[in-house]
């Protein structure tokens, strides 16, 4: 029986099997940020331990940073302390830091790939569940808790149960106005938030093959929302082109990467297949990412809603999603804060202005994304439309900084979670693609983006 790429990468990193279930896995790349790392460094200090491999770690401030006036000191005292603590810890342990204002600063899952730090075949961890994003490069990438951050700092290893594997295939051609976000929201709506628990996923099939790296990142990013430990996409020319444009890689290493693919007769613990033609632009209806429905449908098209969730959202079962009022639009996050996402938004809104009752925040995923957007004149399109174009950070995806949606307000968001209170206490979140968010901003109502595409 052949092996999956997941098993191959895992075996390459297995230092030893400790029990029948648990392996000691070596970690190639460790990203850290200000929110989930301070307690790990304190733990090291208390145990009198040092950082084993500082050169395998990259630090970034993203979760808790303001998206306005980043040149000024952070006003919130606690946020400032977290960011300052990260700076101190990095200095003490000689860890590379892309701090606030640094040209390479941005959301951890945006800056890793765009600076060539994320590479095929690697094991990659970060104290953040959306670390699965890096799986787009054919890597085993997953989120960890702070105790595990401390373990990787001290030993570059983790004690993990061997992975179960799952193949999710999507074949066929996507319709106009249907993007990577819609594909992943559709998959989650079919499988449920616990549909892939315990598994690493390989996304395969023509839809993912044809995707750019940025589209692949959007899909892998949300693997965690179906409960998966991580999700990856096989290495191909698209992967290698993206990486070699950003890092110097030897021919030998590229040749090795090309050997890392699932064998034709590889056995997965589970396999599911979907058809691209079934997928419409998607919007969520409830307080869980698996409550997505095709935009032309009503709330009742999802059978995953709870009464509690619909009450929180203020939506009834017969509510049509198109035409549902919105108050805020958030475009950004590690799911959809990359340059292709901003281009997709600009394409829709060029020549239009936002609805007067709607507030729109465009938050680029990194300084590089921001600079590229300015270079292409996208910032002017956004400003002309009445959108705010901010500085990079996690922002309203989890609302740890000042970018909070007020209680009761409805936000159509390109982020990844619509949990109760996720974007602020009492905030109501509808997850969607950048195109759908942009079209909805114009009308102040949920709007099918296809009406704005020629």
């Amino acid at each position: 029986m052949g092996k999956t790429i997941i098993d191959k990468i895992w075996d390459l990193h297995c230092v030893k099997s400790v029990t029948d279930e648990v392996d000691m896995l070596y970690i190639d790349r460790h990203f850290i940020h200000e929110v989930t790392s301070p307690q790990a460094f304190t733990g090291l200090r208390e145990k009198n331990l040092s950082v084993l491999r500082p050169d395998r770690i990259t630090a970034v401030a993203d979760h808790n940073v303001p998206t306005r006036n980043q040149h000024l000191p952070i006003e919130n005292e606690l946020s400032k302390k977290q960011v300052d603590t990260l700076v101190e810890n990095c200095q003490e342990h000689s860890i590379e830091l892309f701090g606030v204002g640094h040209e390479k600063n941005g959301i951890v899952h945006v800056i890793g790939p765009e600076n060539g730090l994320t590479q095929p075949g690697m094991t990659i961890v970060c104290g953040d569940s959306h670390t699965s994003t890096h799986g787009a490069f054919g890597a085993i990438a997953f989120g960890i808790g702070t105790s595990q951050v401390e373990q990787v700092l001290a030993s570059q290893c983790l004690l993990l149960s061997r992975p179960k594997t799952m193949r999710i295939e999507v074949n066929g051609d996507l319709g106009k106005g249907v993007g990577a976000k819609d594909v992943v929201l559709y998959i989650i709506s079919q499988l449920g938030t616990e549909g892939a628990t315990g598994h690493f996923i390989e996304f395969s099939g023509s839809v993912f093959r044809n995707f750019s790296m940025e589209e692949r990142m959007t899909v892998c990013n949300m693997s965690i929302e179906m409960g998966a430990r991580g999700g990856l996409i096989g290495i191909d020319e698209t992967t290698i082109r993206y990486v070699t444009e950003r890092a110097t890689i030897s021919e030998e290493k590229i040749a090795f990467w090309n050997t890392l693919h699932s064998d034709d007769n590889a056995s997965f613990n589970r396999s599911v297949e979907f058809q691209a033609k079934e997928i419409q632009p998607m919007v969520t209806t409830g307080t869980s990412p698996d409550t997505g429905v095709g935009i032309s449908k009503s709330v009742s098209a999802s059978n995953r809603n709870s009464e509690k969730g619909l009450n929180y959202m203020g939506l009834g079962n017969d509510q049509q999603m198109i035409g549902t009022n919105i108050d805020y639009v958030f475009i950004g996050s590690c799911t959809n804060g990359r340059i292709e996402d901003l281009r997709a938004v600009a394409e829709i809104v060029r020549g239009y202005t936002k609805h007067e009752d709607v507030t729109v925040w465009v938050v680029p995923g990194s300084n590089k994304v921001k600079e590229q957007a300015i270079k292409e004149g996208l910032d002017k399109v956004f400003l002309a439309a009445g959108f705010e174009f901010r500085e990079p950070g996690c922002s309203a995806c989890l609302a740890m900084n000042d970018d909070k949606i007020p209680s009761g307000a409805v936000c159509i968001s390109t982020s990844n979670r619509n949990f109760e209170g996720r974007q602020g206490d009492g905030a109501r979140t509808i997850l969607a693609s950048p195109m759908t968010a942009a079209a909805s901003a114009i009308n102040g109502k949920i709007t099918d983006p296809r009406t704005y595409l020629n």
Binding site: V15, Y26, K81, D128, S155, L158, S161, T197
Partner: protein, 195 residues
């Protein structure tokens, strides 16, 4: 911590995510202490920080060490603050029919035992302990058994736990202590590791 005998708190809600266990506004701390008072904060308190009387959590015994919760407990964010909040509140065992992977790891790293039971068993437990707030559950980690022997109910089941993680819970050894002891092997591994 070999045996735990305690009453239980019941939260019959599926897919309880870590944003509910500990909302993001409480993640600005740089230490691990004091998170218990913020456990399920937005469910326990309204926007003016007044307790919500309809939230069932507070009707159970305050000294309960066991939480019985709906399917897929701990999904979402990797924030270990969720495990710190549960532990700080005094809970040592969470029972559900499924746990999200990252939460499960975080729980074990904080001495919280996640026990996975069948859906039918969970249903029976939720129903019974919703009503019987003074009845105790007996958990024996060494024997990997969970027992309820009371009026109208008898449950005696064995639960799974990896032998290594079990050893850590019983001896109080931490994963990091174990890993640091393997340093020589790790450095040897690195010599031939290509990636």
């Amino acid at each position: 911590m070999e045996k735990i005998i305690s009453t239980a708190i019941v939260l019959e809600i599926d897919n309880i995510d870590t944003d509910q266990i500990i909302p993001a506004k409480f993640l600005k701390s740089t230490n691990k202490e004091g998170f218990g008072e913020w456990l399920f904060y937005n469910w326990r308190y309204d926007e003016n920080d007044n307790p919500k009387p309809d939230f069932p959590f507070l009707q159970f015994q305050r000294d309960s060490k066991i939480l019985i919760a709906g399917n897929n407990f701990g999904c979402g964010s990797s924030r270990e603050h969720a495990a710190w909040a549960i532990a700080d509140y005094g809970i040592e065992v969470v029972i559900s029919s499924q746990f999200a992977d990252i939460f499960k790891g975080n729980a074990l790293n904080n001495g919280i035992l996640p026990i996975t039971v069948s859906e039918s068993c969970l249903k029976a437990l939720l129903k019974y302990f919703e009503r019987e707030k003074t009845c105790a559950i007996e958990i024996d980690i060494e024997a990997q058994s969970m027992k309820v022997d009371a009026k109208d109910i008898y449950i005696n089941i064995r639960f799974d736990i990896d032998p290594l993680k079990k050893k850590f819970i019983l001896t109080g050894m931490s994963e990091i202590e174990y890993l640091v002891q393997q340093k020589e092997e790790i450095i040897n591994f690195e010599k031939t590791h290509v990636l």
